[in-house]
């Protein structure tokens, strides 16, 4: 008997509100971060990240992003490369807030079921995260501290701060 082992893929799907729409969550996040001393921030836009593990191909991951995770009218999505390119300058920051691996992720569990109901192969796991795109001058350490005090709880969250494309 031939057994074909399939390599597990991990796709990171980013879903954001389109720029022409007002981002209420982003406005709230901006206020909270300013309260923590990031007064030079000009804007915060928000989104969701979904890390889908399993046997989905890139095409199938695209389909999941388009048909299941994204509202085609107000949102846009993309598959994020595994190593986001780093930018020079300090005006644009990308903040990801992930639940720690030991913490249950009910939304991720729902995403797994939704992907199956969408006719795609069952992922082995799905985890989701909040994404904050910050526009304004700040230093990384200050952002990490401010996010830990306002948008995340270090007890249950991992915070990833990177320089980002505008």
């Amino acid at each position: 008997m031939n057994i074909k082992l399939q390599t597990a893929n991990v796709h990171l799907i980013e879903v954001k509100l389109r720029n022409e729409f007002n981002d209420g969550e982003g406005t709230t996040a901006l206020a909270l971060l300013r309260e923590q001393g990031l007064s030079s921030l000009k804007e915060v836009r928000t989104g969701r990240l979904y890390e889908i593990s399993g046997s989905l191909s890139a095409t199938q991951a695209n389909q999941a992003g388009r048909d299941i995770l994204c509202d085609a009218v107000t949102q846009e999505f993309r598959l994020v490369p595994s190593s986001p390119s780093r930018m020079n300058g300090m005006n644009f920051w990308r903040v990801e807030v992930w639940l720690k691996p030991t913490v249950s992720d009910p939304v991720g569990a729902t995403v797994v079921e939704a992907i199956v109901e969408g006719g795609l192969p069952r992922p082995t796991a799905a985890r989701c995260a909040m994404l904050y795109l910050l526009n304004g001058r700040a230093v990384k350490a200050h952002i990490e501290k401010a996010v830990a005090k306002s948008l995340a709880n270090p007890l249950i969250h991992d915070i990833i701060v990177t320089e980002a494309h505008p």
Binding site: A31, L99, T102, V103, S104, P106, T110, E113, L155, I156
Partner: protein
């Protein structure tokens, strides 16, 4: 010989170890066991001639935790009050249970033994009510902690009897001021963040499950800044035949709902310790409301087909607690490898102790298993057979043929050594008011109406769905613009009963005032019961059919003064229950609510007691709201005003301390409540509102600006202690048992007839009338106008506070 004796790799040697070594072991594993408890465990395993396994120690620790065994309330106490010392054998039995037994209400169907208290609701139905606290988890992770607080109390209702359908969630919180400007210890959340997270968690879990959230309140005090209190309540309705449950040997142990993960480990033992920076992150749970909704739907369908004999929820301690409790009278054999897992790398003890949410355990006759599987499969809900109940009297847990627990149920549930504690109470040295700066009446009332403990909660209430299920006939926000502060909510549970011709409803009210407890916890408890009952009476509920719940939140009971205050509060509950002839049907205590503050000093919360009450409203169509309904109507004040400003909002605003705390006379109060209830039932009352924080002045202001009519009040007409010569005392005293009532002129005689002799003895008196001009106008004792305040401005001040702070 036990199989465990041969399995040494999981054993945790304790025999021969010193108390110090055992303490260190307990601290390292967050077991929260005392020296005496360790000694009892050592002695037990010495008789077994073997060491315990890790799973056994964890099982014992969680079963004996404060959370599960309520050790403070059930252990002997040497209590000194003033110069007298006496022994209390069991505080719970001698206060709460004794009072309930004394009032003997045949409509109480299940008391203290199940997951919630149950009372009859008509001839066919029963109401189950439970209020839980989720304080420690909410301090660590406000959103997740509060959400799982709701999830947990909803499961209590699903796990009472054979399961009730949740028809109402309540929420009461105590927070530090959200605009706290001082520093905080590392790792703690700012009170603003705690408040936002807690409210968000309650909102999201309740709304997603389709359960209306109404009732409750918020109390702000800086001493809660590190230890917020989160009281989550649920009322459920069930057929009376479903109140009883029974486990039979041979029944299958069936787990339903969520999968088991590493979340929530040590939740029970964690709540038996002071909150500190070393709290385990594993104690935090994340809820999944949709999963619990599936469990709810499948379980109630299975209940109606009588497919199981008993059910309970997996709360603190997880399977260990749920299966241990269900099998306490017979025995249980568990095979953990059958449990559906979230992750594959869990240790045996972790599966056994995990507090993963949304799980229930059922006792199922083997012949019903197939039908039960079909019901849960229809809702997309997992089900697993974990073993069977036995008649061995032993708890046996295996994992892949390896025994990890083998304990006598008797030792587990009755082996907890009872340790005598010491408690002291001394009445405050002086009751004379002192300090503070006097304010003019108008200035004081403006400040009081915007005070955090009085101001509008609309920002919070609007986040909750209180309309789902379509039965909220008296809503939390009332008045012509649906924004006035209601006394209690009234629910018509037709969605659960399916009977649109039966207008029987129920109301839920609360009472809480920690400021009274700072002076005397006894009177705090009495006032709490009084407030809950008068809130119910105001909306048309029957105070003679009210059932009470107690939720004590206290600092460390190892401090004799703290424990003394707790005893005073419990004795207040006892006397209030007897005096009002209202039984306690359920309750909960949460101890060790204290932390090290920013300077490293202990910061205990003020002793806090939440009284919740539920009572039937015979005909929901006659329910009453609190807003004035028109001009020219008579205003009657029920109850007598005394010089009782101790712990009042007025003194807080002035910065004054001392004074006499409000004192309740239950017999007189109950007469007034019953008379008012009869008058409401006859349709003679247009509006009614209780006098609480801020006294008569704030009560009249709230009724006025909610109905957009003014009023004239004459303080000389208020039934009051003749020794009072101060207008401010009459306006702001917080004497309990008082209600302001609006009555049409043509109904005044009929209204007064319901008060019988008491009307003549000045317990109820006409004190003014409503006016078209929306102004609060008050005539003082000397006959001149002492206050003339536009209600629009008072309302603006009342509404502005939270939005201004939240931004």
């Amino acid at each position: 010989m036990s199989q465990l004796a041969e399995t040494t790799q999981d054993n945790l040697p304790i025999l021969g170890k010193s108390a110090k070594e055992l303490r260190a072991l307990g601290n390292a594993r967050h077991l929260s066991l005392s020296d005496v408890e360790w000694a009892a465990i050592q002695a037990y395993f010495k008789t077994l001639k073997r060491e315990p396994s890790l799973a056994e120690l964890e099982t014992i620790a969680q079963t004996w935790s404060e959370h599960c065994k309520h050790k403070t309330f059930t252990s002997p106490i040497r209590y000194t009050e003033g110069k007298k010392t006496r022994k209390i054998k069991n505080l719970f039995q001698e206060t709460i249970v004794a009072a309930t037994a004394a009032v003997k209400k045949p409509w109480c169907l299940s008391l203290f033994k199940d997951n919630a208290g149950v009372v009859a609701f008509g001839k066919k139905w029963a109401l189950a009510f439970k209020v839980e606290t989720h304080n420690h988890p909410s301090a660590l992770e406000p959103y997740g902690g509060a959400a799982t607080g709701v999830g947990g109390v909803v499961r209590d209702i699903l796990g009472v009897g054979l399961g009730a359908k949740p028809v109402l969630n309540t929420d009461t919180f105590c927070f530090g001021r959200p605009d706290w400007k001082g520093s905080l210890p590392e790792g703690s959340h700012h009170p603003m963040r705690t408040m936002r997270g807690v409210i968000g968690g309650v909102r999201d879990y309740g709304n997603r499950m389709g359960i209306p959230t109404a009732g409750g309140g918020i109390w702000f005090d800086d001493d809660y800044r590190l230890n917020p209190l989160v009281f989550c309540g649920t009322v459920g309705i069930m057929p009376q035949w479903a109140v009883k449950k029974a486990v039979k040997p041979g029944d299958l142990i069936v787990a339903v709902g969520g999968r088991t993960g590493r979340d929530g480990l040590h939740g029970a033992t964690f709540s038996s310790a002071n909150l500190g920076a070393d709290a385990p992150s594993s104690a935090v749970q994340i809820g999944h409301a949709i999963q619990e909704k599936r469990v709810l739907d499948a379980l109630l369908a299975a209940r109606d087909k009588k497919l199981y004999g008993s059910v309970t929820d997996c709360g603190a301690g997880g399977f260990s607690s749920a299966i241990g409790e269900l099998g306490a009278d017979c025995g249980a054999r568990v095979r953990l490898e059958n449990a559906p897992l979230k992750v594959s790398d869990l240790d045996s003890w972790e599966i056994w102790l995990s507090e993963s949410q949304e799980r229930m355990v059922l006792a199922v006759p083997p012949k019903s298993l197939k039908a039960l599987e079909a019901e849960f499969a229809a809702e997309g809900c997992e089900l697993a057979v974990l073993g069977e109940f036995t008649k061995t009297g032993r708890l046996e847990v295996l994992h892949h043929e390896r025994t990890i627990v083998e304990l006598d149920m008797k030792f587990l549930h009755k082996g907890l050594p009872r340790v005598e504690r010491t408690a002291t109470w001394s009445a405050p040295a002086s009751s004379k008011p002192s300090g503070g700066v006097d304010k003019k009446i108008a200035e004081a009332i403006r400040e009081m109406v915007g005070h955090l403990n009085v101001c509008s909660r609309e920002w919070v209430i609007r986040q909750y769905d209180h309309e789902v299920q379509g039965g909220m006939i008296v809503k939390p926000l009332q008045g012509v613009r649906h924004d006035g502060p209601g006394d209690a909510c009234v629910v018509w549970p037709h969605a659960a009963t399916g009977d649109m011709d039966d207008f029987a409803c129920f109301a839920v009210g609360h009472g809480l005032n920690p400021d009274y407890g700072r002076i005397d916890p006894y009177w705090m408890a009495m006032a709490g019961v009084d407030e809950a009952l008068r809130n119910l009476t105001c909306v048309g509920a029957d105070p003679a059919r009210a059932a009470l719940l107690d939720n004590f939140c206290w600092a460390s009971p190892e401090d004799p003064k703290q424990l003394g205050g707790l005893i005073r509060a419990a004795e207040g509950c006892r006397d209030a229950a007897k005096g009002f002839s209202a039984p306690f049907i359920s309750g909960k205590d949460s101890m060790f609510n204290q932390s090290k503050d920013e300077k490293g000093k202990d910061l205990p919360i003020p002793g806090t007691l939440l009284i919740s009450a539920v009572a039937p409203v015979p005909d929901g169509r006659k329910a009453v709201t609190m807003d004035f309904k028109g001009p020219g109507n008579a205003l009657y004040l029920i109850g007598r005003t005394n010089d009782e400003l101790g712990g009042s909002l007025y003194y807080r605003v002035l910065g004054r301390s001392g004074g006499d705390v409000p004192k309740v006379s239950p017999a007189a109060a109950l007469n007034g409540f019953k008379s008012l209830h009869a008058a409401i039932n006859r349709g003679l009352v247009l509006s009614a509102h209780d006098l609480s924080e801020g006294g008569l002045a704030l009560c009249a202001a709230e009724m006025g600006f909610s109905g957009e009519f003014g009023c004239l009040l004459d303080l000389d007409e208020c039934p009051h202690d003749p020794r009072i010569y101060s207008n401010k005392t009459l306006l702001f005293s917080e004497s309990p048992s008082r209600i302001l009532v609006e009555v049409k002129p043509e109904n005044e005689s009929a209204f007064l007839r319901h008060f019988g002799k008491s009307a003549k003895s000045a317990i109820v008196r006409r004190v003014g009338q409503t006016t078209a001009n929306p102004i609060l106008k008050v005539t003082g004792l000397e006959g001149s106008t002492i206050l003339e305040e536009p209600l629009k401005e008072l309302k603006e001040a009342w509404q502005a506070t939270l939005p201004r702070i939240i931004g």
